[in-house]
């Protein structure tokens, strides 16, 4: 009964949405307001102004760089939240389900994973560094990197993972994304420009572009590394089993 009422409510909801959808500009029409108002500038000048032939990357880092800074903060917040709820894994008190499982990982699986992981990491690095010319970028590559770490931990257990990536390395790298954004932003302030400006008119033409390239690279690598490490940390914190 209750279910039916909810169903009815949501059906009405959908009809209301549809009434709006009918009025929306037609799907895929180049003449829509969304394609005429702000975006032409991105498409025409984006490559020159943003310094990336992948316009999406250009927007993420330049026009909407502040949003991306918020985005890396969100994922950092998620990590802090997970740690607030579950605490970090600890060599003394935690073990993993791999270790407690009655069946160990088979030889085939461990060998294949061992062979595969370097290639996944290579792909992640490629995705991070080539974000400006092809699909990809810091976050995408970071997600792949994080997935590789998750993969590794799932097969070889938490203790191996903890030995490979120590806490003293992990903690600074988790903050790397926000900090690299802040550093890039403050470089802008140093040259008397607005926060997150990448082109400094005070410098010579070549130095400007070189500096921008360096800053964008710093941000991309910062996002990539931080995202990967954070995914790994979140996973490890969720996966650990308290040793009794």
């Amino acid at each position: 009964m209750r279910k039916f009422l909810i169903f009815l409510c949501l059906a009405i909801c959908w009809v209301v949405f549809l009434s709006a959808v009918v009025e929306m500009p037609p799907f895929g029409d180049p003449a829509n307001i969304t394609n005429r108002h702000v975006v032409p500038r991105y498409l025409e000048e984006g490559v020159e102004e943003g310094g990336a032939s992948n316009i999406v990357t250009g927007i993420i880092l330049n026009y909407r760089g502040y949003d991306t800074m918020g985005e890396v903060t969100v994922i950092f917040t998620a990590l802090a939240g997970v740690l607030a709820v579950l605490k970090r894994e600890d060599v003394k008190t935690s073990t993993t389900m791999v270790a407690t499982s009655p069946v160990g990982p088979s030889l085939i699986v461990t060998t294949v994973v061992k062979l595969l992981i370097p290639f996944i990491v290579l792909f992640a690095v490629y995705t991070i560094l080539h974000g400006d010319v092809s699909p990809g970028g810091g976050f995408q590559g970071g997600a792949v990197f994080g997935a590789s770490m998750i993969h590794y931990t799932l097969i070889f257990g938490l203790l191996t993972y903890m030995r490979k990536i120590r806490l003293a390395v992990k903690v600074p790298l988790e903050s790397a994304a926000i900090l690299s954004f802040a550093i890039a932003g403050f470089i802008g302030l140093f040259f008397g420009q607005k926060f997150l400006t990448f082109l400094m008119p005070a410098l010579s033409h070549e130095a400007q572009y070189l500096l921008r390239h360096a800053m964008l690279l710093l941000i991309e690598v910062g996002i990539g590394v931080a995202t990967g490490i954070i995914f790994g940390s979140i996973f490890a914190s969720l996966e650990k089993v308290e040793r009794i």
């Binding site: 549809l18 799907f27 975006v39 918020g70 579950l86």
Partner: protein, 121 residues
Amino acid sequence: MIVQKLGANFNYVIATLLFCIGLFTVITKPNLIKKFMGLNIMEASVFLFIVSVGAVREGSAPIVVKGMEKGVQFVNPLPQALILTGIVVAVSTTALALALMIKLYEQCGTLDADELKGMEE
């Protein structure tokens, strides 16, 4: 007329339908993990909606390749940039929620919303 309009905007129709299906899952399913799958469905549906807003028929991906002639019709890159942020937000929320669920299970031994409500009193 209306049907034609809806047919042209089929992506939005499906996106809003998925939004409602997700919401239905969230509200009616008692299991918390299932509720969260519903929420993820909702999230993806909103992303589909926004990406569809930026789509252009026969448009190519917004990546400028050397030697490309002028006047190529690109799709709108802005929604894509927004959704990239959106996906991060979604996975962050999911991670936090799952951590809470593990904690909740440690404390209460169940993930059923009705049983948990009974435990609260």
